[in-house]
Amino acid sequence: MNFLLSIILPLALAAQVISAIPDAPVRLVPFYLSSQQREVKMKLAAPAAIAVARSGNIYVFDDGNSRIVKLDTRGNFISEFGQSGSAGAVKRAGFNASIAVDQNENVYVSDPVSPKVSIFSSDGTFQRSFRVPFPMTSIAVNRKQEIFLAIDTARQTELIYVFSETGKFLRRFGERLVRPSEGPDRALNRAIVACDAKDNLFVTFRSWPLIRKYSPAGTLIAENQFTIPSELISEPQRNSYSLDFFSKHADSSFVPPLITHSISLNGAGVGYLLLNAHSIVIFAPSGAVQKQFHFRAPRDRDNVFLRLVGDVRSRTVYLLDTRSGEIYQAPKL
């Protein structure tokens, strides 16, 4: 299978698709409007990541306030935890802030700066943390409570590192897109990850239009390409936008553009990518792209500032606006 993929994949990538994306209406329902909260502690400041538990509770990495906020299924503020001075205090993580929730509603928060992973129970009690020698760009957790980290380093190493719930390093897997270096090509290897309900791992890249599906053991099962919205790559840049170019010109001044902001899956295994330029990709449990469309972002905000997460119980998705702290529901995406 891997051998077959190694033959097919370079061909697929050669046919790079950069094109206009069709529009589609998306009904957004306000779920949690930070600006309308009365109490200071209920206001979000530059929230950077969002996760939905099986119970429907929502956890927000409130980056500007360095804390985690828990909301109930109706968008009511329940609690905050991980504040400065508390056990397992959360640090500002910026764009690489990432949060995941397991089946028992334990909350996993990555700290790409220190770098470490902190684990809290659903009531916010700090359980433990463990250190990682490299920064990470994303975190996911499966039913076995194995923790998957997308590693961001210039070293020659695999893409994904797996740790047990107690923080023991288990294994690593996944080929990088390009040979890592400290040049702008390093951005190409920055991945974001999500687990489905069958413990498969889906991986996409911040700056390359690809969805990979790995088995629970870490075997590459499928690799599918999606379309890059034409607004993201200008005409003069298009010839340079290839893995080959970045492999050969690690010192190029052409920094690959940011394409994908978030990846998530619902309980049925349907996946969602939120792309830059107001574009959403919906992919099947196999990883195959089903639909890609532009939508109108809430309040016309540039969706550089949006994160999207699927509800594991339904086809509802939540859209987090990282600038305003507003969260919207899209009941039927």
Binding site: P115, R155, G167
Partner: protein, 177 residues
């Protein structure tokens, strides 16, 4: 108040200020002035035992980590240590000591599996060295007589660190041949 008393008080005050200043200077002293002390202060965990850092025949390169920050200018210290580890000679010993209060035994075990210098990674009590650390870490090189032959300075780049120590390794390696 008696003018003599005032003078005496002023003198006493000056002495106190001088002592405090001297004290501060002492506490800010680099380990270079107290090399033997370094080995007495830093204890590494070996099983359930705590021991001093064993000396190399020629050089002993020790990096202390109380903290590391990947976004700091010198955040790639692991890479530097691995490069040194790979180019070391048998007369040189390399240790990366992680503070036992900041890094768990599990963390260090993980690092041993992940990084390519497993036998150099140890957990240790480096609490007493905290005032000397530069942004949570310190790299220091000793000769066989526990004399400091090189130590990290603030704002040094990783390339400078690597070049300086690999140069030392070469000199000491040649001496041993």
């Amino acid at each position: 108040m008696n003018p003599q008393n005032v003078v005496t008080r002023k003198i006493l005050l000056l002495i106190v200020v001088a002592l405090i200043t001297a004290g501060c200077n002492l506490s800010a002293h680099s380990p270079a002035s107290e090399p033997a002390d370094f080995f007495a202060r830093v204890k590494i965990s070996q099983g359930s035992m705590k021991t001093s850092i064993p000396l190399g025949q020629r050089l002993t390169i020790v990096n202390l980590f109380e903290e590391f920050c990947t976004e700091c200018p010198t955040g790639s210290r692991f890479e530097t240590m691995e490069r040194l580890y790979l180019s070391r000679q048998t007369t040189t010993k390399i240790f990366v000591v992680f503070s036992e209060t900041r890094f768990s035994t599990q963390d260090v075990e993980n690092f041993k599996e992940i990084l390519s210098m497993p036998d150099s990674l140890v957990q240790g009590d480096i609490e007493s060295m905290t005032p000397y650390l530069i942004k949570g870490k310190l790299l220091i090189v000793f000769d066989a007589n526990k004399r400091v032959v090189w130590q990290e300075k603030p704002e040094m780049s990783e390339q400078q660190v690597f070049s300086a120590i690999s140069g030392l390794m070469q000199i000491h390696g040649n001496e041993s041949q």
